[in-house]
């Protein structure tokens, strides 16, 4: 059981590292694309285009900072709540393992949400809101899934 959980957690850790690297590359390319868009807009005298490109560039930096600084803190906070809380008896080990995996999946979903927001920032300027929305959904999903174990334990009379 523990070996299987470790295997899955290792796989998810590698996925986190790869997605974070891809996110960084995507973010830098998106920044360069926004500079190109700003330069083109300034040449044709489009003030709206320049303002939109500048806003998108700021949004991209914000999403990258949120992904690299905010998401790990959110996941750690959620992990402390979801793992093993309210468990008892034989469910403690199982609950801790399941909580860790749920947190890992939620963390990856949040990171994918940030990547999706970044790719959206290339064509629109709704990147920051989208990333926050995805992170909130994943966090609430993680906490709700973490509550299922203790509730089931109490309901079945195991605790």
């Amino acid at each position: 059981m523990t070996a299987a959980v470790d295997l899955l957690a290792g796989f998810l850790r590698e996925a986190w590292t790869a997605i974070a690297g891809a996110l960084l590359m995507l973010g830098l390319l998106a920044l360069l694309a926004q500079v190109l868009r700003g330069a083109g807009s300034s040449l044709i005298g489009s003030r709206y285009g320049v303002a939109s490109a500048a806003g998108s560039a700021v949004g991209i930096v914000f999403v990258l900072l949120f992904a690299f600084l905010g998401l790990p803190a959110l996941v750690e906070a959620g992990l402390g709540t979801a793992v093993g809380g309210g468990m008892c008896g034989p469910l403690v080990g199982l609950g801790a393992a399941a909580g860790g995996l749920i947190a890992a999946l939620a963390a990856l979903r949040m990171l994918m949400g940030a990547a999706r927001a970044l790719s959206g920032a290339l064509v629109s300027s709704e990147s920051g809101a989208q990333a926050l929305l995805e992170a909130g959904e994943a966090l609430i999903g993680m906490l709700a899934a973490g509550m299922a174990g203790p509730v089931a334990g109490h309901f079945l009379g195991a605790c």
Binding site: R13, A20, G21, L24, L32, A39, A104
Partner: protein, 88 residues
């Protein structure tokens, strides 16, 4: 497991970076020429406002290119240092 994928992605991203940087250089050179032409025409016909706009446009273009070639790589280095380890 994800290393080969990341290497492929890095290659693609490197190509895309070179393409975008080349495109930016071309746009900046053509834009600079356009602003010089606009400024010269403004100066020739006594349009001081046109000349001023051309000068400001040229400065803005230079600032954008400097931002792209000096600030973005440094920002990349900073963000690379901030890249988080898996928090689980």
């Amino acid at each position: 497991m994800f290393d080969p994928i990341l290497e492929k992605l890095t290659e693609i991203a490197r190509d895309a970076w070179l393409f975008l940087a080349g495109l930016l250089v071309m746009v900046a050179l053509l834009g600079g020429l356009y602003f010089v032409l606009q400024g010269a025409a403004g100066a020739a016909f006594g349009g001081s406002r046109t000349t001023s706009i051309a000068i400001l446009g040229g400065i803005g273009l230079v600032l954008l290119v400097l931002f792209a070639f000096l600030v973005i790589p440094q920002l990349g280095e900073v963000l690379k240092g901030l890249q988080p380890a898996p928090p689980f």
